[in-house]
Amino acid sequence: MNRVKFAASRILGAVVVLIIIAAACFAIFYLMPTNPAQLSCGKPCSPERLAEVEAYLGVDQSWWKQLFDFLAGIIGGRTFGEGAAAIHCNAPCFGYSFRLRDSVTNLILQRLPITVSLTLGAAVLWAIGGIAAGLIAALRRGRFTDSAVMGAAITGISAPTYLLGLLGVLLFGFTLNVLPIGGYVPLTENPLMWAFHLILPWIVLAIANGAIYARLTRGQMLDVLSQDYIRTARAKGLSETFVVGKHGLRNLVVPLTTLFAIDIGGLLGGAVITEKVFALGGVGTLLLESVSSLDIQVIVGVTLFAAAVVIVANLLADLSYSILDPRIGARA
């Protein structure tokens, strides 16, 4: 029962946060000097035509009216324009892009497979690689291996993905010419080509993210290994593998899960820069292009989606604690 109550209050909180985010998007956009109607008014553009386009796009309304229409659309759907050219966006309508002629929900769903492929593949790489590197460094503490691994980790954390991406393209795409420089092949079409096209973006994203896991794993592990109960376990004559594997690793599960959930959540909302460099038309690219074309409804929709994913990821992490660590469940 407690768990249900906990989940319910979190969901309610999440809805409030999402509404605040939507309101902020509309308000910020409204205060900007730019006029989205200008972009789709034509050239030359007469003031009368501009007014018509503003009314059609709904940007002539105050920001709170736009927010209200948006929220009402989620419940009741929306219709833009009139007559034979009217556009219907069925409930739940999370906005409509006049530029891309589709509902924001469809636009996100179309691009989600790309972002999911990119994120999950990279996550597997960085979780395995990062944790393994951290463990090795912890067990070889103070030796050359430790310094080498941690040095590499610092480089990974500091290197911006844009630079890593372009260098990767330059090295593997052009100089060695062994990997494709970009593009996406759906998994359902050709699983081999899917992986082949994604391997470079995976590695780039994994390097940027995995380094933090290596550092966290090393730090936590060293902390745990210095605890009294580890000394006791060793004194009992347990094998080192068992001590590290059973008693040591166990303590890393909760912090690593939290970090993992937040990272995955963040990237599912769009790995903007990586997608851009590798010409992967995912959710991040959608956000980037809608910002540059002032497509307010898509901006709000994608922002809400990204926020929702982060919230859900955190919620799942919180719920998983009680399973991973029974002590937390007992207190809750």
Partner: protein, 556 residues
């Protein structure tokens, strides 16, 4: 985002530095810019930074020689040859139009044997409908010169609410007649614009027509996936004999969408993979031009346009100090066009400008009212400023926030500091720039921008930038220049049907405006494009400074 931009700039700088030679010699003869026989076959790739491509002719601002021209024919089109001025030639029509004695009624007749991709004949009703739908709010956004020109157009809201535009008549399937508000000599160019493509009413769903249009040109849209690619395949109903300009070499044309500009340039420079059979829709950035110039292989595949779009410094004529023509003339002398051009990439980025009508536009007369050489004439500027006695205070210079734009603004700032004019730079993103520069308030003193006409006529150089009706309200008279005498000249020239006579008046207007010095002409920009080694007939004419998509083909 800020970090992203900074990194891009650093990387670009790195590429310039590794290019060794920061000021490469200008390759003027562009050996690749020639037209030969067209081989049929192959897949041509066009790399685009834009993540999507909309083939709806009503919403397009495209030139008559780029993407949409592969799919849609219009009443007229452009015949572009290397190093020759562009000509308007018949496309679907048999000629470039017949005008009535009063100059306000234009009649076009369609050729025989014209068909849509589905085999249906193309009739004038389809063209009338195509134009009408461009008036609807749902499909706004395209080139709109016709909307204020065709009688009743100002109040017409498109066909979707049930009305038609009576001033476009189609007495039979082959004839179409336009009644205009006033005489307009450039009308044959207007009907080459995207909105003058045929659209069959029965197949029109305005929500999705841009994804799946009914083709009249040599290619039809096979698939169009936003963020990935758009594939065009041959339209077997297109008859080459009726089409004077499109060569339709490749069997397939693929638009690779959402490509990173630096990655595309790099792929084209190394001529690898898909890039071998392709070209980039955007010009090579200044940072990578140096690299290309030092690579003989890549250099042989670089095509640089002639001098085109006008880059200029607009001075807000409504501002207190800048109201005085003497001050504006002084600034014309004070500016250093040399440092400005270096900031933009050096000699290959453009030629020094002195006139408003740009090279490649018929009727251009070369002159220089403020002869000072590229470095400017500081003494002359100072004496003019002293004569005017104006107190300028600090001038606010509005510019876009790309690295190149900011560097160019700084060149202007430094040049004006030589005559004790203090300039404060305000750099903003592209959308904010156009909003701030074209709104009714006009809260800036100076603005750096550039302009290319939408079709090769002096009208496009002058009317949008200097007619007093184009101030504010989202329009481009950014210097907010207003002179009734010039307005009259513009109207006269616009209404003159005889091309030679009109050109004379435009040349007169050009010089008359520069006497008032509302702007400082800086450079006529050159654009450089790269193509793969298997691409030929990749040409750029005198106008516009863009390649002709429908002539590009692949080697056998």
């Amino acid at each position: 985002m800020k970090r992203f931009g900074l990194l891009a700039a650093t990387l670009a700088l790195g590429l310039v530095l590794t290019g060794c030679n920061a000021n490469p010699e200008l390759n003027d003869d562009s050996p690749g810019n020639t037209l030969g026989e067209t081989q049929k076959g192959g897949t041509l790739n066009i790399f685009s930074e834009d993540p999507d491509i909309d083939f709806d002719p009503g919403k397009s601002q495209g030139l008559a020689i780029t993407s949409l021209s592969l799919v849609h024919r219009r009443l007229t089109t452009w015949d572009i040859q290397p190093d020759k001025p562009g000509k308007v030639v018949p496309d679907l029509a048999t000629d470039t139009g017949t005008v009535s004695d009063d100059g306000r009624t234009w009649t076009f007749t369609l050729k025989d044997g014209l068909k849509f991709e589905n085999g249906d004949p193309i009739t004038t009703a389809d063209i009338k409908y195509g134009i009408e739908r461009s008036f609807s709010t749902e499909l706004s956004g395209g080139l709109s010169y016709h909307k204020g020109l065709i009688e009743g157009g100002d109040d017409y809201a498109g066909p979707f609410t049930g009305d038609d535009l009576e001033s476009i008549e189609t007495p039979d399937e082959k004839t179409i007649v336009f009644r205009l508000n006033s005489t307009f000599g450039d009308f044959p160019w207007i009907v080459s614009m995207p909105a003058f493509s045929p659209v069959p009413e029965g197949s029109d769903d305005p929500g999705t027509y841009g994804l799946d249009p009914v083709a009249s040109g040599p290619y039809k849209v096979e698939s169009n996936q936003s963020g990935a690619e758009a594939v065009l395949t041959r339209n077997d109903q297109w008859n080459e004999e009726t089409d004077p300009v499109r060569t339709a070499g490749p069997d397939q044309v693929v638009f690779k969408l959402g490509q990173d500009a630096s990655v595309t340039s790099q792929a084209l420079i190394s001529d690898s993979g898909d890039a071998k059979n392709g070209f980039s829709a955007s010009f090579v950035p200044a940072s990578q031009l140096a690299q290309v110039q030092n690579d003989p292989n890549a250099k042989s595949r670089l095509v640089t346009s002639g001098p085109g779009a006008l880059s200029y410094l607009a001075m807000n004529n409504e501002r207190e100090g800048l109201k005085d023509p003497k001050v504006r003339q002084a600034i014309n002398y004070a500016v250093d066009k040399n440092t400005y051009r270096i900031a933009g990439g050096g000699e290959i980025s453009g030629d020094y400008a002195t006139t408003l009508i740009t090279p490649g536009i018929p009727g251009r007369v070369d002159y220089d009212l403020y002869p000072a050489g590229p470095g400017g004439d500081v003494e002359k500027a100072k004496s003019l400023l002293a004569e005017s006695g104006a107190d300028l205070g600090t001038l606010r210079l509005l510019t876009k926030n790309s690295a190149t734009d900011v560097a160019q603004a700084e060149a202007i700032q430094q040049a004006l500091a030589r005559v004790d004019i203090t300039v404060e730079i305000r750099s903003v993103d592209t959308n904010t720039f156009s909003a701030d520069a074209t709104n009714d308030e006009g809260d800036y003193d100076l603005a750096l921008t550039s302009w290319q006409p939408d079709y090769p006529s002096a009208f496009g150089n002058i009317q949008p930038l200097f007619d007093s009706s184009q101030i504010g309200g989202g329009n481009y008279n950014i210097s907010r220049y207003s002179n009734p005498e010039v307005d009259d000249l513009i109207q006269q020239a616009t209404e003159t049907v005889d091309a030679a006579a009109a050109e004379k008046i435009w040349a007169e207007a050009d010089k008359r405006i520069m006497e008032d010095a509302p702007i400082v002409p800086l450079t006529y920009n050159r654009n450089s494009f790269l193509h793969g080694s298997n691409v030929e007939n990749f040409i750029i004419g005198e106008f516009p400074a863009y390649p002709v998509y429908f002539k590009a083909s692949l080697k056998g």
